[in-house]
Every structure is written in structure tokens, then in C-alpha cells.
């Protein structure tokens, strides 16, 4: 292993499935040596679509590619005596352990936190589960939809005339994994100060409940329950203002802002005027002098239809380019095609080329989540094949012999 990256001295054993796979990816991007410890049947994430070329195959899950990039992989059956014995040897040399099994599962195999701490008192173990290790829902079954609902985000999203709606791309596990990485690093800092490890118990439901903006405080302070508003937002005076608009080739995000942000709205109406749009918005001299709590709904509705027709006549690109020149707070609702050609991301060289020799191909991947002026942050290499690093870890690392390896294979331990 080349030793670069901000966290290069550290080793992570990563047992997590979709509930926590993101945590290991974040540390791998920072240069840690992250070893995915998979059951011989493979991490369940390998069975999650979409798949490369659309064909379901454990080496072609794009979710796996996305979140196991830069990791190494070994196979190990934790439900066998030999498996747990080998696991304990790995734990003795690890700095972090990430897992997302149902609470109690590892304890049942005698490799829960208390047992592992005996082997390695410095270990930072991070458990990422839907509801945390204890409490009345600790053993409830969750899915992305269930977690996002109980966490409170689903209630706030969607058109009022239909059921509340989730983000179609599952985010429950990813939000939880991001919290797992944060918790791991807080515990790591404590270890720097004291030499001691600890157990970090992450609740997915809480990880969601922390992304609700001011909605919980609004209930706590004013007993007002914010509900889904579809493509509108509620202004300070209770008026509805549109946020998502159809344009010629897609959608854009724009709000009729007032007060300190009113310049943006003024600039849009000036632009519409330049292009000969008959806009009554101009009869309001200045959106900066309007107050978001008193701007009349009737007036907002009236200008809405004019803005609508202006947007419909322009593409996302035209609107965003014009908005940048005029400092209008308007942004495209990007599709992934748009994202791939975004000039800002290109200028920052965000996308990184990752080689897939088995596919005889090189693909663009998202780059790192931060840039550091000291070290590269981001995907170092493609996701590992199942057990790709068994020899590296077991033979070169732990010193198992060829015979032992053959026996463990025979027994289905690796």
C-alpha cells in the first residue's frame, strides 16, 4: 500500500452493509486502509442495482463500485469458530471497526464490543443501525423508506394532493454512514488524547431527524407543524411561492425573493423586460422593499404566470448563464447528464478516472468530498472483487500457510 492520504496510518475493518458502507468510503477517501470483511456470499450491497451493463452480478453493482472504491476485500465467515478466531487476530491490529448488523448479532458470536475491547483497548468500534443499539425500536425492521419516514423527512416532502414522498435514491444508510464517519473521528480524537478506544452507537433515525432544517424548532416554539408543500414554499406571511419551475428542457429552481434578497427578483424582471416580456412585476418598483410576510398572494400569483412563460421559452443553460451574469438566484434542476458536463466541476477537475481492467474500461467517478492542500482526498482505485485481497491479508499479513488457506476455503470460512 502506498502511504499517502491524511489517514494513511490507520486500518479500518469494514463489515457494514448499506446502512453504513458510506463511513468506510469516507475514511478510504481520506487515505485509511479500509478492508471490507465480507461473508463468502459477498456483502449484500453487491446485490443492489443498478448494475454495470444492466446485468445483475456481484462484481458489477454500481452501488458497490460507488461505496467500496479504494477499499480492499477479504472474505470471512464470522459464524464459524475459525472465522471468529481469525477475525479477532485482525481486530488486534485494527484501529477502527465499522458494522451495521442488527443489535446483538456480534455479541451472539462473542465478538461484541466488550469482547473486542479485551483484545484491543484502543479499538474504535462504530455500529450503524436504523434506530441505535437500544430502545423500543432497536429491533424494528427498517428499509430506506421506513427510516426516512420515522426520521421525519418524508413528512416534509411531496405534493400536498398525494402521499408524502421519499428521495427515490436511498439516502437513509448514507446519512447514517456519514454520521458513523463523524462519530468515528470524534472517538479517534479521544484516542489521540487518551490512548483509549470506545464504542460509537449511531442511530439512523436520529441521523435523519437532524436534517430537518427549522421544522422541529418550529413545532417546539410555535406548535406549527410544517407539512409538504410540493413545488412551493411558504413565505413568512403564509403565502405560497413557487420554487420549482418548468422551462424549455427541464426544470429550474427560483423563488420570488423579497427584502435583502429582492435584488435577485428585480434582476429577473429587468431581464424579462429586456426581452420584451410584458411584465407587471415591473410595476412593483422594488422587490427589496417588499416584505416576505406582507407580499400579497394575489400579486405573487399574477407574476407567476409571466415568469412561467419566460422560463418556458428558455433552456436551463440559458437561464442559468443569464442568472449568473445578473446575480439572480436561479439554478438548474440538474440531471446526471447535466452534472457530468458542469463547467465548475470540470474546472475543479472533480471527476476522477478509475480503471476497471476486468472490464477493459476506464470510467469517470465522483472525486473527493473535500480538497486538501496537503494530500489527495478521493477514490484511489476501483472497488475490490470479492476476496480479492485474501492472500495479501491472510498469507502476507497474518502468516497463514498455503495448507491452512486451502482448509479454510474448503470449510467455507473464506
Amino acid at each position: 500500500m502506498e502511504a499517502n492520504g491524511l489517514l494513511s496510518p490507520y486500518r479500518v475493518l469494514d463489515l457494514a452493509d448499506e446502512m453504513g458502507i458510506m463511513a468506510g468510503k469516507i475514511l478510504a477517501d481520506l487515505g485509511a486502509d479500509v478492508i471490507a470483511v465480507e461473508p463468502p456470499s459477498g456483502n449484500p450491497v453487491r446485490r443492489m442495482g443498478p448494475f454495470y451493463k444492466g446485468r445483475s452480478h456481484p462484481e458489477r453493482s454500481l452501488v458497490w463500485w460507488a461505496y467500496a472504491g479504494g477499499k480492499r476485500s477479504i472474505t470471512l465467515n464470522l459464524e464459524s469458530g475459525d472465522g471468529t478466531a481469525i477475525f479477532k487476530r485482525l481486530v488486534a491490529e485494527a484501529d477502527f471497526l465499522f458494522e451495521s448488523f442488527l443489535p446483538g448479532y456480534l455479541n451472539g458470536l462473542n465478538i461484541g464490543y466488550e469482547a473486542l475491547r479485551e483484545i484491543n483497548p484502543g479499538l474504535v468500534m462504530v455500529s450503524m443501525t436504523p434506530f441505535g443499539q437500544d430502545g423500543p425500536y432497536a429491533h424494528y425492521r427498517a428499509s430506506d423508506l421506513v427510516g426516512m419516514a420515522l426520521g421525519g423527512l418524508v413528512n416534509l416532502t411531496g405534493d400536498p394532493d398525494r402521499p408524502p414522498v421519499r428521495i427515490s435514491e436511498p439516502q437513509f444508510g448514507r446519512l447514517t454512514g456519514a454520521s458513523g464517519a463523524a462519530g468515528a473521528m470524534i472517538a479517534h480524537h479521544y484516542r489521540i488524547l487518551t490512548g483509549e478506544g470506545q464504542h460509537v452507537d449511531v442511530s439512523g433515525q436520529q441521523a435523519v431527524a437532524r436534517v430537518l432544517s427549522e421544522a422541529p424548532a418550529t413545532w417546539n416554539l410555535n406548535q406549527v407543524s410544517i407539512r409538504r408543500q410540493g413545488v412551493f414554499r411558504t413565505m413568512a406571511g403564509g403565502q405560497l411561492a413557487r420554487t420549482t419551475w418548468l422551462c424549455k428542457d427541464g426544470y429550474v429552481t427560483f423563488s420570488l425573493t423579497t427584502g435583502t434578497h429582492g435584488e435577485s427578483t428585480n434582476a429577473l424582471f429587468d431581464w424579462m423586460g429586456e426581452e420584451g416580456y410584458d411584465n407587471e412585476g415591473r410595476s412593483f418598483p422594488d422587490w427589496t422593499s417588499l416584505d416576505s410576510s406582507t407580499a400579497p398572494q394575489e400579486m405573487l400569483d399574477r407574476v407567476n404566470s409571466q415568469v412561467e412563460s419566460f422560463f418556458l421559452a428558455h433552456t436551463k443553460d440559458d437561464l442559468f448563464t443569464g442568472a449568473l451574469d445578473r446575480r439572480i438566484l436561479l439554478f438548474p434542476v440538474n440531471t446526471f447528464k447535466d452534472i457530468l458536463k458542469d463547467p465548475q466541476l470540470r474546472a475543479r477537475r472533480f471527476f476522477t478516472r478509475v480503471e476497471h481492467p476486468e472490464e477493459n474500461a476506464v470510467f469517470d467517478y465522483p472525486g473527493g468530498f473535500v480538497q486538501s492542500n496537503q494530500q489527495y482526498v478521493g477514490t484511489q482505485r476501483r472497488a475490490p472483487g470479492l476476496g480479492e485481497h485474501n492472500c495479501e491479508i491472510y498469507v502476507d499479513g497474518l502468516g497463514l500457510s498455503g495448507d491452512e488457506m486451502a482448509q479454510l476455503r474448503e470449510l467455507g470460512t473464506i
Binding site: 428499509s143 421525519g152 436520529q206 437532524r210 418550529t218 426544470y251
Partner: protein, 408 residues
């Protein structure tokens, strides 16, 4: 909460915090909750956006009355410093000398204009760690573009992926990305501290909120770059599960999530429903069959769920092993048995808000748990403590700064 004595995870860490609004203050709150001394720099001339954003106590606006601001700034010390005053630079310099980490999330160019860019900070303290977050990161054609977190959802594909396929997309609520990107931000700051510990080198971390948000849709990006396939929003449907949706319950606008992804779960759902005749219809016998008749299936399941309040339905289904969850409204979150068990909301007495709820951390650390010592600071509440106790000014120096309006 957890007020046992003992060393805290960030004991001794000194953070000079120029952050404002969402992602920045939430990032430094993790540090403050775990023992760092976080000094939040504000100014009376340019009030922090969240102080003038609702909800307000009693619906009466006021810079000390925003519950939004309060939540992200608990446990921090608040000072005021008028950065456009000619003497502010010297004061800031002394604060930088004190600090281990400087954090900010202004539009790129702002800190530089104040003489507090990374190169300037490094001259003051050679191993300083500077953390910057911005919409698009430093460099590139759009880096000076101001904006709100809401916009990042739009830019990053998250809006495109939210809502119904036959309708315009709907944004996830609020400045969505701000709140979870703070977790990545915190992770990178601690990695930088560790790196300095090992190498003696400081650094500048530059977080583009767009680039960080794209980590959460990485499979969608790869589907496009490897397959040329553009994914589309799909309401509450999932390719791997059916029934899978948000179903109506008894009560006004009450809902429950149900997600059936295995044959066992389907059989259990049928059992809980009392095995009605339609459950045995051939077309619902397999996953593919259920997917193929999903509109009918949703209607039939929804007809049944409407008999129950969501809490009752969730517990019936969970007992049978079917993943189900109440669509919690904000009022439900405060009464949720699991969140209550985990002490998710921390109540602290705030001078103007009264007893107010603050989010606790979403994780529990067994050896160095978060501690909630004090609520968010009033504007300039800790000027005296910070300038005298932390950076060692005497009364005369402080008096002059106050008289000259530097600490406004």
C-alpha cells in the same frame, strides 16, 4: 445529559469559528458538543442570517429569538467583531494566534478580503488548520456565486430524484445538504488535526458543497458514466420491493411507510391483513407479479391501512416482521418512543427562548459522550470572557475596543 466528569474528545481544542447559516455552524457544533472551545465570531452590522430567520419565540422576530439559529450554535461562545473596522484585523490576528483551527463558510474571497485567507493565517500561525466550505469550492467559473443550501439539492441531482415521475420534481425540505454535509466536514477537520499531530503540518481544507453532496448520488453518476443511463424519480416505488409505499391511515393526513421486499414479509403482511381473498390472487403470488400490478396492489393495501392509526399499524406490522414506520410529523418526533429513549432532543433554558429543544448528537460515544453545557450565545455574550480570559486582553485594551466600536 451525560454530565459525568472526565476528559472530553476535543478537550483543549481551540476553534475560531467564522461560520454562519447551516453547514458551518453545524460542523463546529459537533466540536463544541464534544469539548472543543468554539468561539463564534459574529457582527452587529451584518447579522447572521439564521438569527433573522424563523421560527421565532412567540412569532416575534428578534436576533435572540430564532430557534433555527439556536439549534446550531449551542455550546459555543459568542463574540462580536466588526470586520470592516480598521482595528478588527489586529484583534482577529490575536484570536488566530490562540486558535488551533479556523473555520469559515463565506463566499470565497471574503476571508481573503479581510486579510484572513489561508496564506495570511499561515503567516500568523504556521501550522494552522483552516476549514472552508462554500457552494462550489475555490476556483472555477462559479466559485464566487452566492447561494443557499436549498440550491445544492437542485444542483446535485437530489431534486431531480425526488417526487413523482408524472409531476415536476419536489425539493427535499429546507437547506437539505447543509445538515448532513457537516458530517463530512467534521470528519475532514479531525483528519487534518490528526495529520498535524503526526507531521507538524497545518493545511487548508476546501469543501465544495456540490462536490460533497454528489457523494450521496454516486451510484446515479456511475449509472450515467458507465451505462449512459439517466435515473428518474419514482415516487415511493422501489425496484426490489412491493408493496412499497406510503399508505393512508386513520386521521387527517396520517400515513405509514410499508416496505415488503421478501416472500416471508409478503406472507406476514397477508396474515396481518387477515388473509383476504385478493391476497391469494395469482397476480400477487410473486414479486414480479406484485410489481406488475402495483397500482392495484397499492390501492388494496391502502384500503386496509386506512383502518388504523399509523402507530398502531406500525406496531402490528413490526411484530409480524414487516418493515413499517410512521410518517412522523414534527409533533410526532417529540413524542416518538425511540427518539425519547435516545434523548434525541435536549432541552436547555435559553434567556429569550425559554426552555428550548436542541438536537442531540445522532450517535452515542461510550467513553466520551457529548455534553450540553449551555445554549446558543446571545450576540456578543462572551466578549469579555473570550477577550480577557482566552486571549489575555486587559481591561484598558478591551475598553478602547468597545469605545471605538471594534466589537460591534
Amino acid at each position: 445529559m451525560d454530565n459525568e466528569p472526565g476528559i472530553r474528545a476535543f478537550e483543549g481544542l481551540k476553534v475560531l469559528d467564522f461560520c454562519w447559516v447551516g453547514i458551518g455552524p453545524l460542523t463546529t457544533r459537533y466540536l463544541a458538543d464534544h469539548g472543543a472551545t468554539v468561539v463564534r465570531v459574529e457582527s452587529r452590522g451584518h447579522i447572521e442570517t439564521l438569527r433573522v430567520a424563523g421560527p421565532y419565540k412567540d412569532n416575534v422576530p428578534g436576533v435572540e429569538r430564532s430557534g433555527y439559529f439556536a439549534n446550531y450554535n449551542a455550546n459555543k461562545y459568542g463574540i462580536t467583531l466588526n470586520m470592516s473596522h480598521p482595528k478588527a484585523g489586529d484583534v482577529a490576528k490575536r484570536l488566530v494566534e490562540w486558535a488551533d483551527v479556523v473555520t469559515e463558510n463565506f463566499t470565497p474571497g471574503t476571508m481573503e478580503r479581510w486579510g484572513l485567507g489561508y496564506e495570511d493565517l499561515k503567516k500568523i500561525k504556521h501550522d494552522i488548520i483552516m476549514f472552508s466550505a462554500s457552494m462550489f469550492g475555490r476556483g472555477g467559473p462559479h466559485d464566487r456565486q452566492p447561494g443557499f443550501g436549498n440550491i445544492l439539492s437542485s444542483f446535485s441531482g437530489l431534486v431531480h430524484l425526488s417526487g413523482w415521475p408524472d409531476r415536476p420534481p419536489v425539493p427535499p425540505y429546507g437547506a437539505f445538504t447543509d445538515f448532513f454535509l457537516a458530517r463530512l466536514a467534521l470528519t475532514s477537520i479531525v483528519a487534518a488535526i490528526d495529520y498535524r499531530h503526526r507531521t507538524g503540518l497545518g493545511q487548508h481544507i476546501d469543501l465544495s458543497q456540490l462536490e460533497a453532496a454528489l457523494q450521496f448520488v454516486a451510484p446515479n453518476i456511475l449509472d450515467f458514466t458507465t451505462n449512459g443511463h439517466e435515473q428518474m424519480r419514482s415516487g415511493n416505488r422501489s425496484p426490489d420491493a412491493a408493496p412499497h409505499g406510503i399508505y393512508p391511515c386513520r386521521g387527517e393526513d396520517r400515513w405509514c411507510a410499508v416496505a415488503v421486499s421478501t416472500e416471508e414479509q409478503w406472507a406476514a403482511l397477508c396474515r396481518v391483513m387477515g388473509n383476504p381473498a385478493w391476497c391469494r390472487e395469482e397476480r400477487f403470488a410473486t414479486h414480479l407479479g406484485r410489481k406488475g400490478h402495483e397500482d392495484d396492489l397499492d390501492q388494496l393495501v391502502g384500503h386496509w391501512t386506512a383502518n388504523y392509526v399509523p402507530e398502531e399499524l406500525m406496531s402490528l406490522l413490526q411484530e409480524a416482521g414487516v418493515p413499517a414506520g410512521v410518517v412522523n410529523r414534527c409533533e410526532d418526533l417529540f413524542a416518538d418512543p425511540q427518539l425519547t429513549h435516545r434523548n434525541h432532543y435536549i432541552f436547555m433554558e435559553h434567556e429569550e427562548l425559554g426552555l428550548h429543544s436542541f438536537d442531540g448528537t445522532e450517535f452515542r460515544l461510550s467513553a466520551s459522550p457529548a455534553r450540553y453545557d449551555h445554549p446558543s450565545p446571545l450576540l456578543g455574550q462572551h466578549n469579555e470572557y473570550v477577550f480577557k480570559e482566552l486571549i489575555g486582553m486587559n481591561d484598558d485594551e478591551l475598553g478602547v475596543l468597545v469605545a471605538e466600536g471594534v466589537l460591534e
